[in-house]
């Protein structure tokens, strides 16, 4: 590993800002055009990290329908993050357990062992849960629309969760910028839960500590299956393989190219000023249709909604992607489209580039 601690090695690309004291920054690009909302990522994460022990309600990876309330419900209205100039933290709220959604009890016993004719269903009033508003979306027939938004901790460059902790129990790992909660230092005060505007730190009432996505660091360290370096489970298990994983400061990697070089991958809620390191290829949808089914020259997903989510940068990103698509249609080369359609795992996941340091 590099001995430098002034924010990146000497070969850090000029247009990449690493957090102070961080050698490299892991990052992920998710192509929202490919997500089918199957929740395989959610379950892959859950079976790895959050089964039982006070973690039932936690989804370090969740996939929510947009437009929609998300998980926890209306998390975008719960504060946290930074003021506009990024200098001061904004107050945040703790979500209620109903806003996450409880783990429901089902009538399995009655149906499978006691011969009940009841339909299989939760036994107590199930009124909310993750992705409860699945596929509801917005808009009127024939121009309704929705898309899926997979979310993990963004392993931010300017993380307000880290800053919120009075005990410095949260920290960014020097080698790759992964944000972790030191379980020995944590005393369950939950200022990080309040402080993260993405609500990606969770309180475990059994261990009395806070917990969060660890970017599957044992896997990227080669402790995964067969002792190989593997990308996080949510990425590798995704059926349409819509996630690219690597380092933001790896100039030859897909993340740098999509985020910095072509500027087609954008941040979710950049106005929170935490500088997320998960980036999204914004969703395209067919144009609006008339009552008679004719295509109209009008976008189905309102541009202002996408701007609300991804900031004004989404416009240039969409324009660029459109140009690149046209190129491919004309039979020309497009690096952007190559990166977004590759089926070569070595190109999707570049995690060993800095191993020699």
């Amino acid at each position: 590993m590099s001995s430098q601690s002034d924010g990146g090695g000497s070969d850090t690309p000029e247009d990449v800002d690493l957090a102070e004291g961080i050698d490299h920054q892991v990052a992920m690009v998710m192509d929202l055009n490919k997500c089918i909302g199957c929740q395989t990522c959610t379950i892959a994460c859950k079976t790895n990290w959050t089964e039982g022990g006070g973690r039932d309600y936690m989804y370090w990876n969740n996939v929510e329908t947009r437009p929609g309330s998300g998980y926890p419900k209306d998390w975008e209205e719960m504060g946290g993050g930074w003021t506009d100039d990024g200098s001061e933290r904004q107050p945040g709220q703790l979500p209620d357990k109903e806003e996450y959604g409880r783990a429901w009890e089902f009538n399995h016993e009655e149906i499978f062992y006691e011969g009940s004719d009841e339909p299989l269903r939760p036994m107590d009033g199930a009124e909310w849960g993750p992705n409860w508003d699945e596929d509801q979306g917005a808009g009127e027939y024939p121009n309704s629309y929705y898309f899926y938004l997979p979310r993990i901790c963004n392993h931010c460059t300017h993380p307000s969760c880290v800053e919120a902790c009075p005990r410095s129990a949260l920290y960014k790992r020097e080698e790759d910028g992964i944000v972790l909660v030191d379980q020995d230092r944590c005393r369950g005060y939950r200022y990080c839960v309040e402080g993260c505007p993405y609500k990606k730190v969770y309180y475990n009432s059994v261990t009395k500590n806070s917990e969060k996505c660890i970017f599957c660091y044992p896997r990227i360290e080669g402790e995964g299956p067969e002792g190989e370096v593997r990308a996080p489970s949510c990425a590798e298990d995704c059926p349409p393989q819509l996630r690219l994983v690597g380092f933001l400061d790896d100039e030859d990697g897909p993340i740098y190219k999509l985020v910095k070089e072509h500027e087609v991958a954008v941040r979710l809620h950049p106005e929170y000023r935490t500088e997320p390191n998960v980036y999204y290829i914004p969703p395209f949808a067919p144009p609006q249709h008339s009552e008679r089914g004719e295509s109209l020259d009008s976008e189905r997903i309102p541009r202002n909604y996408l701007e609300e989510l991804f900031g004004p940068e989404v416009n240039e990103a969409l324009n660029t992607i459109e140009r690149e698509r046209d190129k491919v249609e004309r039979g020309e080369e497009s690096e952007v489209m190559d990166l977004l359609t590759t089926e070569n795992p070595a190109k999707q996941y570049r995690l060993e580039v800095f191993d020699e340091e």
Binding site: P91, L94, P95, D96, K97, Y100, P166, R167, S168, R187, G188, Y189, R190, Y191, V193, E194, Y202, Y203, S205, K208
Partner: protein
């Protein structure tokens, strides 16, 4: 002679009135906290492990006033508990502290994201030779903290400044009850430190002590707490408890009487009455 007699009677009456007011004043305006916490010597047959034990009646209480501790945390200045009564009892081998404070909400659970439990903590210097900074001590002058939380857990902590608490293996005893809107918590420990980084409870020397209280349902945790300033357990056999405060005022009262008499006498002399 009659004149002089009258004057003396007047002066005496005035003096008595002054003494009475000066003695009553502290009760009315509570002008100065007494930093001494009296220590009661528990007899062999007495029992102090439980807050309900009648033996506690023999131990005088000191009232410690609390204020929101300074911290950069959200809502740090909106703590709700204003005072705590502290009783201290020593036996040959143990120190018992009983803390009583009013809190209208009994918060014992931390089972939900939004739930915080009521708590209390007592802080001592690890090394009694110098008084550590009040906010969790300092790097070179650390504190021991006896921490109790209303879910029934206790912890012994070592700290050298805010955000640095580290648990030691707890050797505390704890017991509590909540009645009529009041928490009563007993914390006790062997007087001998039994290891490094633990405060030795001295035989004949005062010991600095400070207290903090958290009201869970008010979102109080961490540095959001109502805390006292440094007091001391009067283990050194100095003045004891409330009489200490009264004694000070009585001395002040007597001084005022003397001053009054001298003034009266002075006035009389100036008028040439002698």
């Amino acid at each position: 002679m009659t004149m002089k007699h009258k004057e003396l009677t007047l002066a005496a009456a005035l003096a008595v009135a002054l003494v009475a007011t000066t003695v009553a004043v502290p009760g009315l305006v509570d002008a100065r906290p007494a930093y001494a916490v009296p220590v009661h010597e528990g007899g062999e047959d007495a029992s102090f492990a439980s807050p309900g034990s009648e033996d506690w009646d023999a131990a005088p209480a000191a009232t410690l006033h609390l204020a929101s501790a300074e911290s950069g945390l959200p809502n740090a200045s909106s703590t709700s508990v204003e005072q705590v009564d502290l009783q201290a009892v020593t036996t040959d081998d143990r120190l018992y502290l009983k803390l009583s404070w009013a809190d209208a909400t009994r918060d014992t659970s931390t089972a939900d994201v939004r739930q915080f439990a009521d708590a209390v903590a007592v802080q001592f210097p690890v090394n009694e030779s110098a008084r550590p900074p009040i906010a969790m001590g300092g790097a070179s002058n650390r504190v021991n903290v006896w921490f109790w939380r209303a879910d029934g857990t206790d912890q012994e902590l070592l700290a050298g400044g805010p955000g640095t608490t580290t648990p030691l293996d707890s050797t505390l005893g704890n017991a509590s009850r909540y009645e009529n809107g009041t928490w009563e918590v007993v914390l006790s420990r062997d007087r001998s430190a039994g290891g490094a980084n633990r405060t030795e409870i001295p035989e004949a020397q005062d010991l600095d002590v400070a207290v903090a209280v958290w009201n869970g349902s008010n979102g109080e945790r961490s540095g959001v707490k109502a805390a006292s300033s440094w007091h001391y357990l009067a283990l050194g056999g100095g003045p004891q408890g409330p009489p200490y405060e009264l004694l000070l005022w009585a001395v002040a009262g007597a001084a005022i009487v003397v001053t009054t008499l001298v003034t009266v006498e002075g006035v009389r002399r100036t008028r040439g009455e002698t």
